[in-house]
């Protein structure tokens, strides 16, 4: 075959492939089109453990609950996007999501710093975003009609942490954060409330450093606080805590739900055993209804669900309920109608009953204080529940 004829054959094959790709599939033939549910979470990089959990939780829910929509003649698809935990990637993905007219709802993100700018893009077309994990108050305080979350908020979570620290008889604390909307946000809330409760804040530092914490730790060691609070994510907190113990710092460690991943013990090992952290998502074992979910998840994906996988499962179930309501009578759904319908959904999911207030916060959310039980990452799910609180979302401060 000469070069030229090979090229012609190749072009022909490409043309055929394109034609096949755009041909109506079996699902469309018998029905009314495709409804796509998108997930956005970090699927690569250092936070992939949690992001993958969100995707898989949503996938399990789609498979479980898509029955009614399919009976009504729609094909239901999950389209996962990788936001890499970076705001710019999240926004670029959001633009692609907007452009795909079949996507009716987004489940995500993991990071508030990504969710806030990305939801500005969803808002342009009124596309609903249901977040399983974003705790920064700004996410819902903007009052957007298309933004929801099923979890609690950092202005409450920070206070829960400070209260627990006070109850532990903590006299002094050193606060570190990662300079993101999430990490710095919750560190601020923690610090403000700790000061109010008479805990001495010896230092408040932000850092984007990921490997060398020596120069940060030296002043901490000299100031010898009772507690170090890390507002941030496990991939940064892990080496920080490990190096702190190696340097001989004896302070207790604490942090928010960003530390809630088995990867924390994978990185920091013994350094974090016995550490307390607050979370808006307990391990699957604390939710009695979630037992079956945990088993199905393990069977299907041969790993334990990471935190927020169950919340992603519930978020997706809520999305599907809203879709069912909108498509009643076989109507084609619109993005605005779906976003509006989510507000009225009352759902008893595996992580509890969810009902949204006018901002898109759950009317009542659960907050936990948990304790790391073992340095074995496999046993992250066994972390002890120290305290559980049900607290209503605070009203927006005007």
């Amino acid at each position: 075959m000469t070069g030229k004829s090979a090229r012609i054959v190749f072009a022909f094959l490409v043309a055929v492939a394109l034609a096949l790709g755009s041909m109506p599939t079996a699902g469309d033939a018998q029905g009314k089109g495709t409804i796509k549910i998108a997930t956005q979470s970090p699927l690569s990089g250092g936070q992939a453990a949690l992001g993958e959990g969100i995707k898989l939780g949503a996938q399990l829910a789609v498979e479980k609950f898509k029955g009614n929509l399919e009976k009504a003649g729609f094909k239901v698809e999950l389209v996962p996007f990788d936001d890499q935990a970076k705001p710019d990637v999240g926004v670029a993905n959001a633009k692609n999501i907007n452009a795909d007219k079949d996507i009716m709802v987004v489940i995500g993100h993991l990071n508030s710093g990504v969710a806030i700018p990305s939801s500005e893009v969803y808002k342009e077309v009124g596309l609903a975003m249901i977040s399983p994990a974003n705790t920064n108050p700004t996410v819902t305080d903007r009052g957007y009609k298309n933004v929801y979350r099923v979890c609690g908020r950092d202005d409450v979570q920070g206070v829960v942490g400070a209260e627990f620290a006070k109850a532990q008889n903590t006299k002094s604390v050193y606060v570190i954060h990662d300079k993101t909307a999430y990490g710095q946000g919750i560190a601020d809330f923690f610090k403000a409330d700790a000061e109010k409760k008479g805990i001495k804040v010896l230092g408040f530092e932000g850092t984007e450093e990921k490997s060398n914490f020596d120069p940060l730790l030296t002043p901490i060691k000299a100031k010898n606080p009772d507690l170090i609070y890390f507002g941030g994510i496990y991939e940064q907190a892990g080496p920080f805590f490990k190096q702190a113990r190696e340097k001989g710092i004896k302070a207790k460690f604490m942090g928010p739900d960003g530390l809630d991943s088995s990867d924390l013990t994978k990185i920091a090992g013994k350094a974090v055993v016995g550490m307390n952290y607050t979370s808006v998502a307990g391990p699957v074992s604390v939710y009695p209804q979630a037992k079956q979910f945990g088993e199905e998840f393990k069977k299907k994906f041969s790993k334990n669900p990471e935190p927020f996988a169950a919340q992603a499962y519930d978020s997706t179930a809520i999305a599907i309920k809203a879709l069912e309501a909108v498509t009643k009578g076989g109507k084609a759904p619109t993005r605005e109608a779906v976003a509006e319908a989510v507000r009225t959904v009352k759902h008893t999911g595996i992580t509890g009953a969810v009902e949204f207030d006018e901002k898109g916060d759950p009317k009542k959310a659960l907050y936990f204080v948990l304790q790391v039980a073992s340095d074995n990452p496999e046993k992250w799910g066994d972390n002890k529940e120290v305290k559980r609180l049900t607290i209503a979302a605070p009203a927006t401060k005007k």
Binding site: K210, N212, T218, A222, K242, E246, K247, I267
Partner: protein, 323 residues
């Protein structure tokens, strides 16, 4: 202001800075040696450096899985990973030069530079791909050897861990070996000859291509050793970890006078110390107004000042402009 605290942590900050500085110095050698012979900046060096760290962690994890990590003497283990890291990075540097730079040797200056940036991206994602298939992990954790974490208390606020001593001793040994190699051996003379004038060196019977390859291998091996030491000291690496230390080491090379080997060492130490002092003292001295996050801004502001007054770097000589 708590003067006692400020003075009390001074020795510890100095040690922290020294460790970081030696790390930068080892990496900076790769930039500066290549620049010395080719007047070309090998931006892929940050990945060549971190490859050493990856080879090190893979060997340590392998030994751990085989149960040998506890039984084999730790000095031997360290020696093994250092040599393996150096070999891997040295070989990679050789291969990169052969594939991506040599064909472009006579192209305009910017072309190999762009090739180097491309190689850097390629290597980052090649490591990521490999590790995600091989270990399904992004961050790799260096297995701890308990001996390395033992600390010698000097005062209540100052102590040195065994691994910090290892980093300093290993770095000093390697810098000394390089010094001897470049200044006291025939190969060293050949490298310096090629750096000075390639055409004349080749007329004297020096195989220029071989010497250039050798320069890459030596610079790469130093980077590989730094990669292993980086992993041992800080405990965690991922495919993108090399980028920032690489950039800082490049800066250190420029600060010391690019192309100048002792300059790279001095530049590395100065930058490491500046960074450590800034990170530890900024918030203490400004009452929290400027935190540790400003360490790079502070360190680089001083760098700019130094370069304004000494544009050729601290130890740089005035280089003749080439036509």
């Amino acid at each position: 202001m708590d003067v006692e605290l400020l003075v009390g942590i001074l020795p510890q900050v100095f040690i922290d800075g020294l460790i970081l500085g030696f790390m930068y110095a080892l990496i900076a050698l790769g930039y500066t040696m290549v620049y010395g012979v080719l007047q070309f900046i090998n931006f892929a060096h940050s990945e060549i450096f971190i490859i050493g760290g990856f080879v090190g962690v893979e060997i340590l994890l392998g030994l751990k899985a085989a149960g040998l990590l506890e039984t084999v003497p730790w000095v031997l283990v360290l020696l093994l990973v250092l040599v393996a890291g150096m070999a891997a990075s040295g070989f990679l540097a050789f291969a990169v030069e052969r594939v991506a730079y040599r064909p472009l040797r006579h192209a305009p200056r910017l072309i190999p530079l762009i090739s180097a940036i491309g190689v850097s991206f390629f290597l980052q994602d090649a490591i990521r791909l490999f590790e995600s298939i091989w270990r399904n992990a992004f961050n790799l954790v260096y297995p701890t050897m308990d001996v390395l974490n033992e600390r010698f208390e000097i005062t209540s606020t100052v102590d040195v861990s065994v691994k910090s001593l290892v980093v300093i001793v290993a770095a000093l040994l390697m810098l000394w070996a390089l010094h001897v190699l470049v200044n006291r051996t025939k190969i060293g003379t050949a490298i310096r000859a090629v750096a000075e004038d390639q055409a004349a060196a080749s007329l004297m019977g020096i195989n220029v291509n071989r010497i250039i390859s050798l320069t890459f291998v030596i610079g790469g091996a130093m980077g590989g050793a730094a990669g292993v030491l980086f992993g041992v000291q800080y405990g965690l690496i991922n495919p993108y970890t090399g980028f920032i230390p690489g950039l800082k080491a490049f800066t250190a090379a420029v600060l010391g006078g690019i192309g100048n080997i002792p300059g790279a060492m001095v530049g590395g130490l100065v930058l490491g110390l500046l960074e450590a002092f800034a990170a530890s003292y900024l918030s203490l001295l400004t009452g929290g107004a400027f935190g540790a996050e400003y360490k790079d801004i502070f360190a680089f502001s001083i760098l700019i000042l130094i370069l304004i007054f000494r544009p050729k770097g601290l130890l740089g000589e005035v280089v003749r402009e080439r036509a």
